[in-house]
């Protein structure tokens, strides 16, 4: 966008409409209060001060699906609950996202073999965007999941024909030992 650069006074920021809208959406992902079992405790810990979900604009847990953008399915989904999960998902306004949090919602978890009443993965009930494994996942893992949701939102396109490219997670891993910093030598 060189033709437009340097034409305005200071403190005027230029952006595309797409970027601006995606920025607004990704910074206000409101999750739904949706704790079903033990994973919910970890979700609450993520929302509390130590891990502070509010840093990502995702700390406003809504008690109504009408006001929520993100459903964090935190806990064991039973067959009895499955129809309710589906209904709550349908009541959420678009665009909506689902995080399957914990081994139970990813695929049955500890109840896979003997849980007669457990849905073997919440993706049998609602479409899932991000899977966060663990039993329960640590709050950092859930934060990571929310950052992946934000990646997904950032990749949204406004144009009708524009192809959305699902972003590759920018997770770099820590396989190599990080180089020792030299700041201590001073």
């Amino acid at each position: 966008m060189t033709w437009i650069e340097g034409r305005f006074e200071e403190n005027v920021v230029l952006s595309t409409l797409e970027q601006a809208m995606n920025w607004a959406k990704e910074s206000s992902v409101w999750p739904m209060t949706f704790g079903l079992a033990c994973c919910a405790i970890e979700m609450m810990a993520t929302g509390a001060s130590r891990y502070d979900l509010d840093r990502f604009g995702a700390g406003a847990f809504r008690a109504s699906p009408r006001q929520a953008d993100l459903m964090i399915v935190a806990g064991t989904v039973t067959f009895k609950m499955a129809s309710r999960v589906r209904r709550l998902y349908e009541q959420m306004p678009d665009p909506k996202y689902v995080i399957a949090m914990g081994a139970c919602t990813v695929g049955g978890g500890p109840y896979f073999k003997h849980g007669y009443h457990v849905v073997k993965g919440v993706d049998l009930v609602v479409p899932v965007d991000v899977y966060v494994p663990g039993c329960p996942p640590r709050p950092e893992a859930l934060l990571e999941g929310i950052m992946r949701i934000q990646d997904k939102i950032r990749a949204r396109k406004l144009g009708r024909s524009a192809r959305e490219v699902t972003p590759v997670p920018h997770h770099q891993g820590m396989a190599a030992v990080p180089a020792i910093s030299h700041t201590l030598e001073v």
Partner: protein, 177 residues
């Protein structure tokens, strides 16, 4: 009262054939009562001033059954169902366990639930406990005011804590396995 005194009192009150057996050496000493007498025995244990069992700690069903043929030899029990009542008296601070032994199916017909009279008229809390035992183990508590499933969905098929229960392959279009 000790368990032995309670047993003697019950035998004196109801006769040997209705008090079918006992084990006083167990950690929780128990008395076995015949199914038709359980409501009377329960009312007696609650109201008599020597026993005063005003508190039903727990009521549960136990399924004695080994569906695996290889393990059946070692199992050591005839297939049957027990209803276990744990009683405590707040005033007299004594405890007793009462058991009722039932067939796994009424008249040997698979699918018809064994019957036992309800004690929900004696201890109010037995209402929910009996619903749970009905839901999960499949025991029909005759005379219960509202014997419907309490944990599983209303249209659930079978009683999940029966040892020979088979998992649903599908429930309302959701794959079960």
């Amino acid at each position: 009262m000790t368990a032995e005194e309670i047993l003697n009192l019950l035998v004196e009150q109801f006769g040997k054939e209705r008090i079918a057996g006992a084990n006083l050496e167990a950690i929780d000493p128990w008395v076995e009562v015949s199914p038709d007498a359980i409501a009377d025995v329960a009312r007696f244990l609650k109201t008599d001033e020597r026993t005063q069992f005003d508190h039903l700690n727990n009521l549960c069903g136990v399924d004695y059954c080994e569906p695996d043929e290889k393990k059946q030899k070692k199992f050591g029990h005839e297939p049957h169902i027990e209803v276990v009542y744990h009683l405590t008296s707040y005033n007299l601070k004594h405890k007793i366990t009462v058991k009722v032994v039932l067939a796994r199916w009424k008249d040997g017909q698979v699918g018809s639930l064994p019957e036992v009279p309800t004690v929900s008229g004696v201890w109010k809390i037995a209402d929910w406990h009996e619903r749970e035992a009905f839901d999960l183990v499949g025991i029909n508590f005759v005379g219960h005011p509202n014997l419907v499933r309490i944990l599983c969905a209303e249209d659930w098929v079978g009683h999940p804590l029966r040892k020979d229960y088979e998992f649903p392959l599908e429930y309302h279009g959701i794959r079960g396995k």
